[in-house]
């Protein structure tokens, strides 16, 4: 009698679970219709959703496999397998919900975030979506960093040429040499150090551009569908979760963070003006006999190189706006990827990706 009672209770629980699954499945089918209205990531246009077809395919294949196995469990009367399959079906539905959430979030980011940031920062951002706006921002930073390096290069070459000048004279077997311009070499070390830093900044902007370009092309067409498919199976659930988190993190969060950090760096206040180009030094006369004149030229040029506005604006652009923000962007994105992966059932170590910074 007690056993019969237990069986009845178990059957009741099983039926309840099936009802929940049916409801979840129907809800998923209902909201999946919104996919057709969603914009196609990558192009930004309302399309026939070729990418989203693969979202559906990634979920349909595991559902078919589970359905066949479920029928098998009845055919061979294996109730234990049925319980496992019900759990697996729930995971597939959860994966479907994750897919819909990703698309919805992406649509919100594309349609609203750019407007919000434009309003908050007072800057005009391109209307074609967060990805395009972020890429436009990075192109601006890259051009700025390239300009700074070119300027450093020009100044360094001229400085090196002038500082190398020296006079040699030999009279009656006695040689004299005068290195009147060599003090200018003192500025070259600092210039090289500054150029090094700018090189790193330029590398960072290139890296960010490449990663965004990669995400724009393949996050929603290859990485996330593959992740959704893998997430539907128990053994590959963690790998699938990792791919979904990485794809979504770099497609949606990364551009949003790039835009947010760059736009909100100053709020509505005006950012510092672009750093003026470093001045080229004049011609150094190696035969100048007056030490006072040489000293005066040296200190004058040093004054021009180390003007407060020059140093401040350069440091702002290279150190803060490019270097610091690129590291910050990556840290925030990686933190999101880790948390999101954990949320969808994958515990991954993303520290290896941080090496790029």
């Amino acid at each position: 009698m007690i056993i019969m009672g237990k069986n009845k209770k178990a059957r009741k629980n099983g039926a309840g679970l099936l009802r929940v699954l049916l409801f979840a499945f129907m809800a998923l089918c209902f909201v999946a219709g919104f996919l057709a209205a969603a914009k196609d990531p990558g192009t930004g246009s309302t399309s026939t959703s070729s990418n989203y077809t693969y979202f559906g395919l990634a979920l349909a294949i595991p559902i078919a496999i589970v359905a066949i196995a479920y029928m098998g469990s009845y055919a061979f009367n294996v109730p234990s397998l049925r319980a496992v399959l019900q759990d697996e079906l729930l995971q597939i539905l959860a994966t479907g919900a994750v897919a819909l959430t990703l698309i919805g979030t992406q649509a919100v980011v594309d349609q609203y975030l750019v407007d919000v940031l434009s309003a908050a920062s007072g800057a005009t951002l391109p209307p074609a979506g967060a990805m395009a706006a972020a890429q436009s921002t990075l192109v601006g930073l890259r051009n700025g960093a390239t300009g700074v390096i070119s300027n450093f290069e020009e100044v360094s070459i001229q400085l090196g040429q002038e500082a190398s000048k020296g006079v040699f004279c030999n009279f009656m077997g006695v040689g004299f040499s005068l290195s009147n311009c060599s003090p200018f070499n003192a500025y070259r070390g600092s210039l090289t150090a500054a150029a090094f830093t700018t090189t790193v900044a330029l590398s960072d902007t290139y890296a960010q551009e490449y990663i965004l370009s990669l995400a724009r092309n393949f996050a929603f067409s290859l990485i996330i569908p593959l992740g959704l498919f893998l997430r539907c199976f128990r053994a590959s659930r963690a790998a699938g979760g990792a791919l979904i988190a990485i794809g979504f993190g770099f497609y949606t969060v990364y551009p949003a963070v790039i835009l947010a950090t760059d736009s909100l760096l100053h709020g509505e206040g005006a950012p510092p003006a672009t750093a003026p180009a470093l001045p080229l030094m004049g011609t150094c006369d190696p035969m100048e006999a007056k030490v006072s004149k040489s000293l005066s030229e040296f200190t004058d040029y040093g004054g021009q190189l180390t003007q407060y506005v020059q140093a401040k604006n350069l440091a702002y652009f290279v150190l803060v706006r490019v270097l610091f923000l690129s590291v910050l962007n990556l840290i925030i994105t990686l933190a999101f990827i880790r948390s999101f992966a954990h949320m969808i059932g994958s515990d991954i170590d993303v520290s290896a990706l941080a090496r790029i910074s």
């Binding site: 020296g166 006079v167 990485i223 593959l226 990792a242």
Partner: protein
């Protein structure tokens, strides 16, 4: 209760019967690896030995009327059967991987274009007819080639800067016939800054090249050593009573490295051209007369990731790296060395760094997650996250 057990046994037997023909199909295809048959044979021997041991134990158990031995034999028979199923599934996956062509990834995921390295592969592999294994190898080979071309280009730049910065002239100032009075000037002395930066870039390029080479040899090892030794060992271990968990972990490592790693590399080959799709092409100056071998890694369809600049054309005027010797005889000769500009050199360097370091880092994160989960599923948890540190 017996009827239920019989049904389960029938279901298991039918499942095995379904997958076993695939195993025989594998032996006939085998990705052109002659070792494949040996591995199958080793797996078969391991399974048969295990079943023989179980049968002997069962017979002894019956003879000596030992319920303990009988129970052990029955339990192990189920586990040996499970090992057989796992081995069959693995071989089925291998079969699929051997028959799946890289070109099919494009149609499966509805991608716009195929990577140029697969599209223009030598016949008969052109048009994406490589297997996943060949495709992964072709990608790492091409990536290594372009990474080396970048190292050569930077080495040339470094040499050019070295020669130019050490160039010094003594300019006669009129009375030099009597007093030898002259002004010494190093016109390119200021390029020591470029020299230092290029030196740094060369270090990064070398790391990227080494990472690619590491992946190339890892792949070679996976295709040979791992397959020949690891798989039979893992299956044997999975069948031995007290080593079952260890065997499960070995199988998980094998599946992660032998099945998932090549797949991830093929995925990388597909997505690598996307790196420059929206950021524009970059120019690599050819300094090794090999026409920037491997540059197609970053090209597909209409995307040309790397433009190869010849030494006879602007903006890469100059020489091959072995022609740089003896070019220090005059100022015009110095100018003709034409090292690449820093901005271009940085752009190409970062592109190769991302492909050689960043993408493999993602690969290893996914592989580690997959391997850990699968090993947990099969028995013992194996931590593969350390593999990522090799990049």
């Amino acid at each position: 209760m017996d009827a239920s057990k019989n049904r389960i046994a029938l279901f298991a037997l039918l499942s095995l019967a379904c997958v076993s023909p695939l195993v025989s199909a594998v032996t006939s295809f085998a990705c052109s690896e002659t070792e494949f048959n040996d591995t199958i044979m080793l797996c078969g021997i391991a399974t048969l030995s295990m079943f023989l041991l179980i049968a002997l134990t069962y017979m002894f158990g019956e003879t000596m009327q030992s319920p303990r031995m009988l129970t052990w034999a029955k339990t192990e028979a189920v586990q040996a059967f499970a090992s057989l199923v796992i081995a069959s599934v693995i071989l089925f996956a291998l079969f699929t991987m051997c028959n799946f062509q890289v070109g099919e990834v494009q149609s499966v995921f509805g991608l716009g274009a195929m990577p140029k390295i697969y599209q223009d592969a030598p016949s008969p592999y052109d048009g994406g007819k490589d297997t996943i294994y060949n495709g992964a190898m072709r990608y790492t080979e091409n990536l290594a080639a372009i990474a080396l071309a970048n190292v050569n280009s930077l080495r040339y730049d470094l040499g050019a800067y070295e020669i130019r910065t050490s160039y010094n002239t003594f300019e006669c100032s009129g009375i030099c016939i009597f007093s030898l009075a002259s002004t010494s000037v190093s016109y390119f002395g200021g390029e020591s800054m470029n020299l230092a930066i290029t030196n740094n870039l060369l270090g990064i390029a070398t790391v990227a090249y080494l990472s690619t080479i590491f992946q190339f040899f890892t792949l070679s090892y996976i295709y040979n050593g791992l397959f020949l030794i690891f798989l039979p060992l893992a299956i044997v271990m999975r069948s031995i009573p007290f080593m079952r968990h260890f065997g499960g972990a070995l199988i998980a490592i094998f599946v992660a490295l032998y099945l998932l790693y090549p797949l991830m590399l093929v995925a990388d080959a597909y997505i690598a051209p996307g790196l420059t799709a929206h950021s524009g092409s970059v120019t690599l100056c050819e300094r090794d007369a090999r026409a920037c071998a491997g540059k197609d890694v970053f090209s597909s369809g209409t995307i040309t990731g790397i433009t190869c600049g010849l030494a006879t054309q602007d903006p890469c005027l100059g020489f091959n790296e072995w022609e740089i010797e003896g070019r220090g005889t005059g100022r015009a000769s110095m100018v003709s060395l034409h090292p690449n500009t820093l901005g271009r050199a940085i752009g190409i360097n970062v592109l190769i760094f991302i492909a050689a370091i960043f993408l493999p880092a993602i690969n290893f994160i996914v592989i580690a997650a997959f391997g850990r989960e699968l090993s947990r599923f099969l028995g013992e948890e194996a931590d593969l996250s350390r593999l990522g540190q090799m990049v």
